[in-house]
Symmetry: C2
Subunit: 480 residues, 2 copies
């Protein structure tokens, strides 16, 4: 890469057929020089570049450059190339220009900062990587490479065998889904993004507290939000929800019906039925995010909104947390009539997603590895959950309440109102522990007073250590 | 998966400490039954689900269910589970509900339809898969799996070694870029999406004709568009551009400066300098899409906007076309001050992209395979380009003009105005050839009259065959 750059210029033809020969090259260079567009000392394109570009013989371009050198317009330098005459400067580049304008950006969305290094992450939503099937995924990758080999093109809707495997899994859970209704996405985040980009309505209803990346996404796309208060200790106040939905008339409700993030709440079957009835009556669509059910033992036997409401319900799920976060494979199931438009919006967003990771997950599902993995993962998560419940009872004061999601990676810890949460956070940080405060989770005022505890990422010993630190920090504020 | 689903319900505690025992389970079921929320025949959660969820002993939950059976509220069925008494229906699910409302979508963006099967794709923008380094990529995949193994987490900004390798390549081309300024994206499409999502300004300027997926993306995000006419046979009319930019005051200009899609035009160095000056003077930012330069022999030695305008210029490139489209790896280089906000918008879009494909491309770059691949790819593309130019001269009438991009995969064919392009398309389709008409490429009226020809996807024989069919169809309309 030691050759200097060259300036490019347009070779124009004044012939009626548009063809170009040596005369057109000479005329074009002289015209550019006359207009001051080729500064002295600039390097011109090498002969073979022009010859290739214009489809000319080498002799033709060389003849044009020779003519220009003979006229004193250009000069040839041994082993360096052809330059505009009149300067022997070091740089062949044009002179510097004033700094162009800087792109003006919107304010950054208020995402929670990541956990500072060196602290025990007590609010982590991920699962301990030691519990994830890395070796089996590597085996599937090798298999995908062997046969039929790496595909050169991608499919905008997603790799067909993966869509088929997803549809078969959902059908086995009582959801009549065809592969043509499945859109593969980059995790569940892109699935939510597609729905939000494609919707024709200006308002969305969300639970509050809500998965903060969904709330911020909706806001960033200009959607108005109606927050529906969710109290995981009391269940849904459906009369209050109905009043809010009637008042605001959102286009759709985005709901995490199983293992709600961040509370760990799972909707009762009766609540799902009532939401379907409200959807029909008030005319808002249902978008169900079911990230949680397959982290729960027997979670697959609990009805989903999609199961009760059928085809009109949009259904989102992801392999991210359970398989390997770095794979970033999720999916969206949509009513058949909506699929082409949603795929078109996916093309605008990413065109299509990497074929390889889609093929690896398809292979993993086809081999039956996913069910085997979930069985052993449930065993581990159930054990960590049970240890966490025991540790909470043993270590924390009884005035601190918690939800009972039944497994999975996290639960919600509800702290007595008199505790200053920001001070609590500073206090646990000084003890080497990080908790994620949940201001970003609330749409409107916060009716809960606490934060998420992750017991699936930390080894049980580390979790107990972190909870002891939390108990010390609570005692500091008089809660024992 | 033969077990029937179960209905879920919330077990509430009326005790001050929130704790739950058998009495709370009994009370909760009776309350739900009294409220009509558990239909007759519904299956209740298995004992071990409730025991796990609530952190109770098996005996406690069993005792609660026994009590409810004894009171006649529930009934136990051998090997099936516990059900709400009073019905022996087949289904344990709640009764069907009226169909929920359907999500209302915006009109689908008017993307060009894909080439019908069985036709020779004469407008294809991709490169013949036979020219792409599949085996070397498979080798890199195996190496990535061996050491250090598959990562469990992803990085929102993109895999650091890939960002480092990208920065090193750009630095070698005269662009001072640090890895911390690089954001890895799903192809160049996501890079454009991030800029469009994050911009604070309501208007963008684009070339016309323009890469249609960029135009439709901007429109779908509500940005107003200013079309700057590009005539690839005459170069930019910068006075006209300045007038339009002054009139409309867009926030940024999105420009494909090298090998413009769909025309194949490359900006002259003088034009790049003038755009930087206009940017500084009129206050619009520059977003450069440089997808084309590394498909051209010596293209890397031609200055880019980023090189002339420096750090404020946003720079987009991608490995998609040249390496393997199915990998979907591209990148955006941004001024340091803008990187955190752009990464935050990437998190809202996809959180992060698959680690594996990022690691494979990083390995490919680190081994020096990319430069070796480009060298042999240029050789092939140059040969196909030369054959295409020769075929155009030999087969098509001289009134059909074409651009001279100098290599790469496509050029623009300009057809005499008297030809009806829609009729031409129908006529070539009847001859087994597909051309993509370019209505979607224009912002405002079309000042060009033609379409893109792809010579890198079709083998030379197939290209000649397709051009002969095109010549026949032109002759049908009197152009010989």
């Amino acid at each position: 890469m030691s050759r200097p750059p060259y300036v490019s210029f347009l070779v124009r033809s004044s012939r009626p057929d548009g063809r170009i020969g040596a005369a057109e090259v000479v005329d074009s260079v002289l015209r550019e020089l006359g207009l001051g567009r080729l500064p002295a000392g600039s390097r011109l394109p090498p002969v073979r570049v022009l010859e290739q570009e214009l489809g000319l013989s080498k002799n033709t371009v060389q003849a044009a450059y020779d003519e220009l050198v003979a006229r004193g317009a250009l000069e040839s330098r041994e082993r360096e190339g052809v330059f505009v005459a009149g300067a022997r400067g070091e740089s062949a580049l044009p002179p510097p220009v004033p700094a162009p304008a800087m792109l003006a950006l919107r304010p950054a969305p208020g995402l929670p900062p990541s956990t500072p290094r060196g602290l025990l992450p007590l609010s982590m939503v991920f699962i301990d990587p030691a519990l994830l099937p890395r070796e089996k995924l590597e085996e599937c990758t090798r298999s995908v490479l062997r046969s039929p080999g790496v595909a050169s093109l991608y499919e905008a809707q997603g790799y067909l065998p993966l869509r088929q495997a997803v549809a078969a899994r959902l059908a086995a859970r009582g959801m009549a889904v065809d592969a043509s209704h499945v859109i593969i996405t980059t995790g569940s985040q892109q699935a939510i993004d597609l729905v939000a980009r494609a919707t024709a309505t200006p308002r969305v209803a969300v639970e509050t507290p809500v998965y903060s990346h969904a709330r911020l996404l909706f806001e960033s796309l200009g959607l108005g939000l109606t927050g529906l208060p969710l109290d995981p200790f009391a269940g849904l106040d459906l009369e209050a929800w109905e009043a809010l939905l009637t008042r605001d008339r959102p286009g759709f409700l985005y709901a995490i019906t199983s293992y709600q993030n961040p509370t760990g709440y799972s909707y009762s079957t009766h609540e799902l039925v009532r939401l379907c009835e409200l959807s029909a009556r008030l005319g808002f669509a249902l978008v169900e995010d079911d990230w949680g059910s397959d982290m729960l033992s027997m979670g697959g036997y609990r009805p989903t909104l999609r199961q009760i409401g059928g085809e009109p319900v949009l259904y989102i799920n992801s392999f991210t947390k359970k398989l390997l976060p770095s794979l970033r494979v999720g999916f969206l199931v949509a009513p058949p009539a909506l699929v082409p438009t949603l795929v078109a919006f996916k093309r605008l967003s990413t065109l299509g997603n990497p074929w390889l990771t889609e093929a690896i997950v398809a292979e993993f599902l086809e081999r039956g590895y996913y069910d085997a993995h979930l069985t052993s993962l449930h065993h581990e998560l159930d054990a960590r959950y049970a240890l966490c419940l025991a540790a909470l009872r043993e270590i924390l004061p009884s005035s601190v309440r918690h939800t009972t999601p039944g497994g999975g990676p996290t639960l919600w810890l509800e702290i007595p109102r008199e505790v200053d949460l920001a001070q609590l956070q500073r206090s646990v940080i000084s003890r080497g522990v990080h908790i994620e405060l949940s201001a970003g989770h609330f749409q409107g005022p916060a009716h809960l007073h606490g934060f998420r505890i992750g017991y699936a990422y930390l080894a049980p010993d580390a979790l107990r250590r972190a909870l002891h630190r939390l108990a010390e920090a609570l005692a500091e504020q008089g809660v024992r």
